[in-house]
């Protein structure tokens, strides 16, 4: 035995603890000693070890444990196999399926092409283009036509594996499946018009542009070539259907201006001559809500908008000071467990787009029901936010129920999620965890500590987490109607001074994708 450790009474305690573990329960004296220690342990109150309710840290039913594990494993295995099969089939039968699904347009296109070719005349309304994307490889046939009306209506027939680009954004949980771009130069078009051998062996995707921006995205003319971007649904049919159901559910709750997720705030201050009313979201926009928006962008093939709006955790996890954040952010943004937690790592452009999307959804809902509504959805103004957070009371320092950071009483817990309160606050929120390790992982993994957007932290207007959790973006009107963005309310990592309603901007107006910053929109009805 070689040890340099000097044994003294101070470091003997650990050895004695180990010696206690070595006691022999079969020995009468040792057993009596252990019984006594057990009694002592059971009579004490331990600081740890009180499992919060709902965390699943109670023993499961014995009879159901094994089948439960077996069931989960089976489902997981089937899901993996199913996905693998789907991916394989999707790759191999990509062309066939698309042609099969769109037979009538192909036929009509072929007929049209033949007609045009036989006439041998220059085409005004319809252009047949053979684009050579790769000098040595594939040929792309494309028919672009304009509909009878003045609305440009693009129908493209296109097959080229080279054109299919699949972009996977690591960390966001979203994948743009197929962005088909076809490029045809003006020289190519000339060749085509001189050629009678037009080859149409193409998959078909149709484009129904709905807005001007779509059209602009579709056809961007440059000096030398025309770039046509097809807008296709980037969701699978199943995902599209699920998305529509979710969307209709959300719109159902917003219809009739019930706005369950929004607090109606009426401001009538004769002294300041302010009289206004608005709806402020009760909690920060959640991952689930934001995903719905992103899915809608994908459903309409708005890949460019999607790229702007998607969460960009990769901008954060490259921080050399914080190497461990990647694992957490991936987990946070991808797992359904966190879908009710605030969306983070998005740009202010993404926030604005979300607000516009909400407006568009409400208006289109009313339009479908043959009603009209005029409203404005945007990020809140600083004054609106402050009024809402303080419930109109000047005595409130923080945006919490009582204007303080703690409940009233002796040794009470914090009611805002910020740097000092993390452990206690998340423990409050453990009931929202869906599996035993969630609360633990949120609390301990990589220092990132969020709480669900709708945790118990309501102020008078039922607004949650106005102070703490994530800093919220607000706007102040600047000169010439220029919006000045800033954050307010503090976040999970903030010193408590930034949680104050009148605190200065913690980020000095730098609203970049960050795990500290989220938002909540405001809705104003124009009367």
């Amino acid at each position: 035995m070689q040890t340099n450790e000097h044994i003294n009474p101070d470091n003997l305690d650990d050895l004695l603890k180990d010696a206690f573990l070595d006691l022999n329960p079969d020995d009468a004296t040792d057993s009596r000693l252990m019984d006594e220690v057990a009694s002592s342990i059971y009579s004490r109150e331990w600081p740890g070890g009180q499992a919060p309710a709902g965390t699943g840290k109670t023993p499961g039913k014995i009879s159901t444990i094994k089948p439960w594990i077996w069931y989960l494993s089976s489902v997981l295995l089937l899901a993996i196999l199913g996905y693998a099969a789907w991916a394989w089939l999707g790759n191999t039968s990509h062309e066939t399926e698309e042609i099969a699904d769109n037979t009538p347009p192909i036929n009509s296109a072929v007929n049209q092409t033949n007609t045009l070719s036989s006439s041998g005349e220059a085409v005004s309304a319809t252009t047949v283009a053979l684009a050579s994307l790769n000098q040595e490889q594939e040929q792309v046939s494309k028919v672009t036509e304009k509909s009878a009306s003045n609305v440009p209506y693009t129908k493209e027939k296109n097959i080229s594996k080279n054109n299919d680009t699949e972009n996977t954004y690591n960390g966001t949980g979203y994948t743009t499946r197929t962005i088909i771009q076809s490029v045809s130069s003006k020289d190519d078009k000339q060749q085509v018009s001189n050629s009678n051998n037009t080859v149409v062996t193409a998959s078909v995707t149709e484009t129904h542009p709905t807005t001007e921006s779509d059209l602009q995205n579709q056809a961007q003319k440059t000096d030398s070539m025309t770039v046509v971007t097809q807008t296709v649904s980037l969701l699978s049919p199943e995902e599209l259907k699920a998305h529509e159901i979710k969307l209709s559910t959300m719109m159902g709750t917003m219809a009739g201006l019930k706005f369950d997720d929004y607090s109606f705030i009426h401001v009538d201050d004769p002294a300041a001559n302010i009289k206004t009313e608005f709806y402020l979201k009760k909690y920060e926009v959640t991952i689930k809500e934001y995903k719905l928006f992103l899915d809608d962008l994908l459903a309409h093939g708005k890949s460019k908008e999607y790229e702007v709006a998607r969460p960009k955790p990769e901008l954060v996890w490259n921080d050399p000071k914080d190497k461990s954040s990647k694992k957490f952010l991936l987990q946070y943004l991808q797992k359904n467990t966190f879908e009710n937690y605030p969306i983070i790592c998005i740009s202010k452009e993404g926030m604005e787009m979300y607000c516009s999307w909400i407006k568009q959804q409400i208006e289109s809902y009313y339009k479908r029901n043959k009603n009209t509504i005029s409203l404005d959805v945007r990020l809140p103004y600083l004054t609106e936010w402050k009024y809402a957070a303080s419930a109109g009371k000047r005595s409130h320092k923080y945006g919490t129920a009582n204007g303080r950071l703690k409940m009233l009483g002796w040794r009470t817990h914090y009611i805002a999620n910020f740097a000092e309160s993390q452990r206690k606050f998340v423990a409050l929120d453990d009931t929202n965890a869906t599996k035993p390790s969630d609360a633990q992982s949120v609390r301990t993994v990589n220092r990132y500590v969020f709480t669900t957007a709708s945790s118990e932290n309501s102020a008078v207007f039922h607004l949650n987490n106005m102070s703490g959790n994530v800093s919220e973006v607000v706007i102040t009107p600047g000169e010439n109607n220029v919006k000045i963005y800033r954050t307010i309310g503090g976040n999970w990592n903030s010193n408590k001074k930034f949680l104050k309603i009148n605190a200065e901007d913690e980020f000095n107006g730098n609203i970049s994708p960050s795990p500290f910053i989220g938002f909540r929109p405001v809705i104003m009805i124009n009367k």
Partner: protein, 198 residues
Amino acid sequence: MQSIKDILADKNRGAEWLYQQFGRKLLGYSIHTYHINEDAGWDLVYKSIYKVIDVSHNYTFEDEKRVGSFIFKVFINYLKNHIRDERTRTNSAVFISLDETRKDFVQKPESRSQNPKMQILNEELSKFEDWQRMLLLMRSQDMSYAEIAAFINKPEDQLKVYYQRLKNKLAEAVQKRVQQANTSLEPNTDTNPSFKPM
């Protein structure tokens, strides 16, 4: 009111009852006293609960206290194994020749303590009187002097002094034995040709 036997006979109810009565306390104890990871602590608690449930039909428990003692002993056993596993995992590997392991296996098949230092400590502890040994071990479990005094039947106001003296004595004895063991393992330069003076 149902007897403990009836409660434990229903496995689900028994597990829940054990958890409510003892589980949280055992977890707190393991985290606080042995500083183990909380998740590992829950694992040990659950293992202990299910073990007790599985074997409870072989035992008769007079009262709740007996059940508490029983599950505590089971828990201590799991805790001991867990701590050893953790230390084995974190310590660097020590290579022992095959002959040596075979010799140990033959000579000391029932040795419970793997750590030589712990062996020395246990041997020195066994030289103490029962009440002295109990005092040291119970204090290591953060029991109060009042509790210990009641158990070993000694005046409470003297215990603190006793405890300090015993600790000093034990530390000295263990240190001495460890040094002896180290000295005996040092190579003998007289018999080593490479160290012989020219």
